[in-house]
Amino acid sequence: MVKEIERAGIPVVHVCTVVPISLTVGANRIVPAVAIPYPLGNPALEAGEEKKLRRKLVEKSLRALQTEVTGQTVFED
């Protein structure tokens, strides 16, 4: 799906937990996520902390979208 949206001419960031799958399907901007059933959360955290964690991941995703890349790039910390 990421590849087709990229093909449509819109930069797209793939936020996902299993990065090797994302690389295999051809995503260009990849942000590793927390866990499969809650990529942008963590139910073990208190709600406020969990939202902070989510915000950090979204901010990282926005940074990825504002970064020029020439090929598949995984945005680690």
Binding site: C16, G41, V69
Partner: protein
């Protein structure tokens, strides 16, 4: 003669531990055969036996690859098998990734032959086909009856150290390995007969198939995020409560487009997940964990992004065919482009 020793890898589901709610199950070593190992054993007959089975949750494996592999390698080492078998994984993506990774690690670490089996669209195929033998199966466990004898037969062959034939005859995915062989006719003659067949419109088989590269060039970065319209898309199955369009929990035939203009965040009352491939409890309780609507609204209010696009797009990525996913996203991409969306955050579970 003593029997050849086989160690078998299966996931928590085939190990009888449980479904998605047990996907975080840590690697466990069990003596003897379990689950699909029963069917494999029938084929092995007197020649080989499954001496141990490793059971591991698909979620745990994929979220902790290094730890999981280290634990599994330790377990395999104890048994010194002649061959290592994983799966079959059919079209279960995380299971396929695990089977491929475990086979690769075992064969590299101990120099033991390894084989797994799965469906052609399983992401495990493209990730591991060059490293390990992966036999082709149908897309669901309904294909077990055919898959088990093929897998057992191939494993036996590896355990005995017999020569493995070409991918097409043996039923495994091509590994990109070239092999020198002697043939009757020289190259120039073969090339000309191929050309003649091609000119006549007849079937011919190339000796050197070209690899298909289908990577899409990355688009330029967003220059000014504070003016950009950003859209949310997910394959994690987040839908309005009750799943009004009945998006399938597996092998989705459609995607949904839902208006979130008036929503500040997802709640237990307005959303849920339709996805059948992961434990849905966390997403049902708080879908922002899969699709970060709450944070996007904050960022919009603070002017960090220009605007959150009025709709979000969603489908279920569980066992969904590549052809369907491609068609959905081509449609979604065209709609987003048409509406002036400048950036997309796509989340996957």
């Amino acid at each position: 003669m003593s029997k050849l020793r086989v160690v078998h890898y299966i996931n928590q589901f085939y190990g009888g531990v449980g479904g998605e709610e047990k996907a975080d199950y840590r690697p466990e070593l069990r003596p003897g055969k379990h689950g699909p190992g029963m069917a494999l054993s029938q084929q092995f007959g007197d020649e080989a036996e499954i001496v141990a089975t490793v059971v591991c949750g698909d979620g745990y494996f994929n979220e902790n690859v290094d730890e999981a592999l280290a634990a599994i390698l330790k377990m395999v080492e104890e048994y010194k098998p002649h061959v290592f078998v994983a799966g079959p994984a059919f079209n279960a993506g995380r299971y396929g990734m695990a089977c491929g990774a475990v086979c690769k690690a075992v064969s590299e670490k101990f120099d033991i032959p390894a084989v797994t089996a799965m469906y052609g669209e399983n992401p495990g195929v493209d990730s591991f086909r060059s490293a390990v033998y992966i036999l082709e199966t149908g897309d669901s466990a309904a294909a077990m009856r055919k898959a088990a004898p093929a897998l057992a037969g191939f494993a036996l062959k590896l355990a005995k150290g017999e020569e493995v034939g070409m991918p097409c005859c043996e039923g495994y995915f091509t590994r990109g390995i070239r092999k020198n062989v002697f043939v009757e006719e020289r190259g120039s003659k073969r090339a000309v007969s191929m050309l003649l067949k091609k000119l006549k419109g007849e079937e011919f088989e190339t000796e050197y198939p070209m690899p298909v590269f289908d990577n899409v060039e990355p688009n330029p970065a967003v220059a000014d995020m504070s003016k950009a319209t950003v859209a949310l898309v997910t394959s994690g199955g987040i839908v309005p409560k009750t799943n009004p369009d009945r998006i399938e929990s597996s092998s989705a035939s459609k995607f949904g487009k839902y208006d979130i203009e008036k929503e500040a965040r997802f709640t237990i009352h307005n959303s849920e997940t339709a996805h059948g491939g992961y434990d849905p409890v966390y997403a049902n309780n708080d879908a922002n964990r899969v699709l970060p609507l709450d944070v996007m609204r904050d960022l919009e209010k603070e002017g960090i992004i220009g605007k959150l696009y009025r709709y979000y797009y969603t489908t279920v990525g569980n066992g969904t065919s590549v052809a369907n996913a491609r068609a959905f996203a081509a449609d979604i991409g065209a709609q987003l482009k048409n509406d002036g969306v400048q950036a997309v955050i796509l989340t996957s579970t």
